[in-house]
Subunit: 306 residues, 4 copies
């Protein structure tokens, strides 16, 4: 858990929200998943991120997910929760309520329906940071938002003492490198996908938030440690195995694919809320084959202990 | 007002939602505006569209706006209300409630945080259409959503008897032309801005939804009638005057600019909700000069009668 | 033919360059085509534009095409020739040589491999305009160049007395409208496709350069005259017929499609140079069906006189 | 120098072409530069790439540059030369002539004025590969071409025995990783900029083509060796120093900036051909400050020996 002044690091899992077929939140499934993730080598989880179907979640649902995760993990996991709503006031309210529910930090998308000027983005981030009881982690997700937060905005926001990091999924290595160079020491730069976790680390990132770590947390941690220990060929070999799996459960087959994969590993994936469509049988077959072929299962020894 | 089988036509105003400085809805301002628009040559208004700050409006607020508009206009205006929420279920609920509050039709954005396949877009539109008590009008707004609904999706959706038109702001004249050619006769194709209302009409559109008609409804109606009557040089001259004004209150100065312009004409513009920033003094001056220079005031004779 | 101070107007055909199967220029085919176009209602032709496979044409070939067209048309057609080469010096040389070969005006793409600042675009245009013996017509073609010349650049360039117009294919009606409003009276704004010729005219364009006029020049002229005479419903009906044909021989099936269509009307289309691929049999069938179904043949009475 | 079957690896410099103020090629400057580069730790140079102002170079000029480089480097450098011309036939001719002039391999852009289908890209690459006397290196440069060669095209092309690598500047780490995974062992995947050389290596690249290596070849080689030897923190520290310099001489200040920097290190930068604009004094000052501040000079000990 983050203490004052401590830098956020490590491997974070942006977890999906399990729904029943009728769209209701599956609380039991969630509790079961939290127990599993707490027993895993993960450093933290991200609730109500893109994989968590954030746009479909009410504040009450996000509070429930956060509270349950906090209690279920008993301090074993850093709990980061997505507070974004379109208006600043709703977001501030959400940050406060999610912190009260146990969030250790807040993940924050930029406003995006109206494509604001840089000035408007910085103001949104700092307005929320002023009011949030816990630190903020910016969330750059241009594929979904159509907004690619630029380096000037990141640097301006990073000067706020309550803005403590960024998850960047843009894949722009130049920006990632500049983010590391131009933000304060305590600011955390995270890569936003397992597709290129090692590339992000090589540019100076101190962690990653990646869907593949839900299924293969130890593989991700091994890569992270191998990089930090200078065992670079081992890290590169792990990255090669992670890429196709990471890509399959995100870009290729989306959240329905990710949820299908969870089911294959004894977690509760459940349904997606509409308008997301279920994964087809053919796609599910292809997805599971990619996972099987990766050979990553051999590293996930913690599963035997649970 | 639309009766069964009647095609939606004419000049529609996508009106802003007036807020007080603290972000609260300004109900008195809204009632005053409705009275003014009801006395104007407008055919209809669009509530909770992009100018209406749809992402910041709760369902309860949309219901209030709709009910008040319906009562205040006493049948003089077609009331179209934006029902979009990120999830299908919330949207269906909203469509029902807005219809109950008096909406004559529903304006419907596509899902856009997750960039869905065509199939997912069509399913969203038809799922909502199946349940909505009043007809749907699709809303293509790629500048805000990052989703440009393509012609195949439009045609597939237009086959549903309860999907009765589209407001297209993309400005893609090829698509607009195909939409007219390939949708049923009763389906309405509307241009989505006054910047090129005449161009849209020339491609076969039967109406337009445009911010400039809030300020200059008669100018827009004169253009529309001139086109329909074959007085093309008159229509073209009006289009030339409308362009800079229309562009200034939309693309150039945004909703804060539009609201400032309303104030200049005795309507309640009010504040925007955060994170939208207020218009600067310099921009407001430039905006009002563009409006003044247009010379459109001379056509708005109805103002004297109110 | 353009005389000093005369504004360029009307219907221009951006014609393809006929090649033999081995890639050699088909001079006889070209002469035959020129004879046909000279007997048609076209106002002018554009040589070495995008349809003319400009990137594959040497300066010598462009000179041959221009000289032959000038002689073959005997003053009946305005001859506009594409002078663009990547460097300014090559382009200036080409403009001089093409003017000497008989070009009445020069069509000019912006530099585009290196995405220049506005300042660099204006300088390129005015540097060439300073040296060109005949007027320049700018050519905005973002789909091919990746550069969308903005309104500030157009206005700055239009102040040069030797820059006399623009062919804009971007389809941005706001920009087209502003171009008409903000350039000098003698500056010609042309729409760049038959897909939305009427929309361009309605925004103030004084002509169009469009592939569909190669096949259906009289239909295009009828639309143009109907618009100018205020017979707007006739113009709109023609636009509806032109759209699918225009779209098929440009965006949908490309230059190979256009050349195939020429063959169907007794003109020499010939092959494309590699790397352009030939049109498939299935596509050719679909293309010819679209043309047949348009019913435009009935207007092309001039064909009987040739 | 590449021998049959040998994989292309290491640090390659995409060098600029020195021009005199009147635009003429500066042959003496070129010879001087070649002598310097031959004495440096570079593995190879790329002639007539984007930095080499390829679109402005005639085939004769490319031959001169290649021949002079081959002779001047006396086998010390791998010579890769850009053969792209818009048409396949011109490109094939260029590949043959550049090979005859001494090119060890050919750098090949995709066709890009006409945005071809995948099929057309593969055919262009393999048609040239069939005829080229020396191996081809594909060149993905979407910022300039507007074409981002996708993984399917890369894999299809890589099956041709004479297509031996790719320089990818897209920065898409997912694609880079897949390229390494899905192409034959002898196929070389190169990162295309020094901004993120280490990230590319971490994804499996076996070399890089980067402007910064013209100025700081030993720094680049040290990074490359540190990575290969598992001294990852040393490699990461070098990457942090390289980023701002690499970015300044490419994206930020372009070829004029790169040429200015060459002059500061005793190489001949010279002028750019029009329409490229010269670098402003202020920009040059900023650029030289970035270089100075990097502290990279301390590693370039080879300079003392020349």
């Amino acid at each position: 858990m983050l203490t004052l002044g401590e830098k956020i690091r490590g491997v974070f899992a942006p977890v999906p929200t399990p729904f029943k077929d009728d769209g209701a939140l599956d609380g039991n499934g969630w509790e079961k998943n939290i127990a599993l993730w707490s027993a895993s080598p993960l450093d933290g989880i991200v609730i109500a991120g893109s994989n968590g179907e954030i746009p479909f979640l009410s504040l009450e649902e996000r509070e429930f997910l956060t509270r349950t995760a906090k209690e279920g993990s008993a301090g074993r996991l850093h709990i980061m929760a997505g507070a974004h709503f379109p208006s600043t006031d709703e977001t501030i309210k959400a940050a406060g309520r999610l912190a009260a529910a146990g969030a250790d930090s807040i993940l924050l998308l930029p406003p995006h329906y109206y494509k604001g000027k840089d000035e408007a983005l910085v103001k949104y981030f700092t307005d929320v940071a002023d009011e949030s009881p816990v630190p903020l982690f910016l969330y750059n997700m241009p594929a979904n938002t159509g907004v690619d937060i630029n380096i000037e905005v990141i640097c301006a926001a990073a000067r706020h003492p309550n803005i403590r990091g960024i998850k960047d999924t843009s894949g722009d290595m130049t920006k990632l490198g500049y983010t590391v160079l131009r933000t304060p020491d305590g600011f955390s730069t995270f890569g936003g996908t397992g597709n290129w976790f090692l590339a992000a680390l090589s540019m100076g990132a101190c962690g990653g938030t990646m869907a593949v770590s839900i299924l293969f947390p130890r593989s991700c941690q091994m890569l992270y440690e191998a990089f930090n220990d200078g065992r670079i060929s081992e890290a590169a070999a792990l990255q090669k195995r992670l890429l196709p799996v990471s890509d399959a459960i995100t870009r290729r087959f989306g959240i329905p694919g990710l949820k299908r994969a969870l089911e294959a590993y004894g977690m509760t994936g459940g349904s997606c809320r509409r308008p997301l469509l279920p994964i087809s049988k053919a796609d599910a077959g292809e997805l599971l084959k990619v996972i099987r072929d990766s050979g990553l299962d051999e590293y996930e020894t913690w599963r035997n202990n649970r």
